[in-house]
């Protein structure tokens, strides 16, 4: 004779199933061994039992678990009638319904939080830097070389409209007398960095700077952001940097120094070459 489980025993006690002789003996055996089912049988016979509640309690999950499935179901804000009996006698589930109603009203209020005034400026600064990099990268370097070579050739070809322009331009940038259309004074006053360094040196520095600028990936973006952050801090544009900002900027600061050093090394090398030639 196989053993009977509680679920089958409850079915038979409720009259939901009709046992044969073997199953009747198994039920008797089960009732002798299982105090819960024996107690249930005695209460059932004394008509003290709430049938619906007992069905919920005796099936696969506990009454509260089954009630929770109904209470928190999507679209189940109105509990079905079948829960009424359980809710009448279960303070825990009533409290859960109150908590549910209170919570669901509050949750949408947490959808939007203010990140502060600096947020937009920082994001725009980062995207602007990347936008410049992207713009440069849209034009292959070969094009730039091609255009430069074409201009250089035009400057050298006899009778070309640009012949001799390079000397005039160099002289103009250095503040040569009478060569600038706006006069030497203007050139000296406004193109100070260019007049301080020979054109070749500036060109070398610009080339290295350009290579750095066209670097792709996170590093270029982070370094650009770091420059913006430091600039905003020192110019008092973006508010004071927090201690956390400084911690994040520290490794980037080394990267920035490295970039500046590279540019400066190129300029200095060209300066030295210029000096050697003059000597």
């Amino acid at each position: 004779m196989s053993k009977m489980n509680c679920e089958r025993a409850v079915e038979i006690l409720f009259g939901a199933a009709t046992p044969d002789a073997i199953e009747r003996r198994a039920l008797d055996q089960h009732l002798r061994e299982c105090s819960d089912c024996a107690d249930f049988q005695s209460r059932l016979e004394s008509e003290e039992v709430d049938l619906l509640a007992e069905v919920l309690a005796q099936t696969t999950a506990s009454g509260c678990e089954r009630a929770a499935d109904q209470i928190f179901a999507v679209g189940g804000e109105e509990p079905p009638e079948i829960l009424g009996t359980h809710l009448q006698r279960c303070e825990h589930c009533r409290a859960l319904i109150r908590a549910r109603d209170r919570t669901l009203g509050v949750l949408p209020q947490l959808a939007v939080l203010d990140p502060g005034d600096v947020f937009t400026a920082r994001v725009l600064a980062r995207t602007r830097v990347e936008s410049r990099s992207r713009h440069w990268m849209e034009y292959p370097v070969e094009w730039a070389y091609g255009i430069a070579v074409a201009i250089a050739l035009l400057m050298l070809i006899p009778n070309s409209p640009l012949q001799g322009t390079s000397q005039e331009l160099l002289s103009w940038l250095r503040g040569g007398e009478g060569e600038s259309p706006r006069g030497a004074g203007w050139a000296q006053a406004t193109v100070i960095p260019l007049s301080m360094f020979p054109v070749e040196a500036v060109r070398e520095g610009t080339r290295i700077g350009g290579e750095l600028e066209t670097e792709t990936g996170e590093r270029a973006t982070q370094v650009s952001w770091a420059f913006d952050s430091f600039g905003g801090h020192f110019l008092d544009l973006g508010g004071a940097l927090t201690e956390r900002d400084w911690e994040e900027l520290r490794p980037l600061w080394r990267e920035m120094q490295c970039d500046v050093r590279l540019v400066w090394r190129g300029i200095r090398g060209q300066l030295q070459a210029e000096t050697d030639r003059n000597c």
Partner: protein, 165 residues
């Protein structure tokens, strides 16, 4: 951008539960959104697309940050809420109290359930959108939502000092 930054920041705040990290990550999310705008096929799905990027970024960030000591949970008032403030000071105080209590309760529930609450109940995404975002069957998302609501309600009761969660 201004209209959406509060949503992204809020999502990052609720996932990371650290204001400074959420600010940094929300910036990163917007940069990523800007970079990938060309990949957005249906403009009407912009919000769910953007929140999906924010959610993935926050999860990645959380994984990387697991080695670090846990951040101190921020009080919701420190986050700066933009929710409706109408109704007078007494109503404001009650709402604020409720918001703080629910925010703390959110910190008590599991990550999987919190994610569902954030996306569905807080950000208002449809269950179909969430199923697509998480790569799960709709039925799974529905049952997960039911369990998440249940867990949150128990956490709220625990916060209130009522029945144990």
């Amino acid at each position: 951008m201004r209209s959406q930054q509060g949503r992204v920041y809020a999502l990052c705040c609720h996932i990371l539960r650290d204001r400074d990290e959420a600010l940094d990550l929300a910036q990163e999310v917007f940069v990523r959104v800007w970079r990938r705008l060309d990949a957005l096929e249906d403009p009407e799905r912009f919000v769910s697309w953007m929140l999906s990027i924010a959610r993935n970024a926050a999860i990645d960030h959380g994984r990387r940050a697991k080695a670090r000591p846990p951040a101190q949970d921020i009080p919701v008032e420190d986050m700066g809420s933009l929710a409706d403030q109408s109704g007078g000071p007494a109503m404001d105080a009650e709402r604020e109290s409720d918001r703080q209590m629910v925010h703390r309760a959110l910190g008590r529930i599991g990550e999987i359930h919190r994610e569902i609450i954030l996306l569905h109940e807080i950000q208002g995404l449809a269950l179909e959108e969430i199923a697509r975002m998480l790569g799960l069957p709709l039925g799974t998302v529905k049952s997960r939502t039911t369990r998440a609501r249940h867990e949150l309600a128990k956490a709220v009761l625990a916060e209130e000092g009522g029945l144990s969660a």
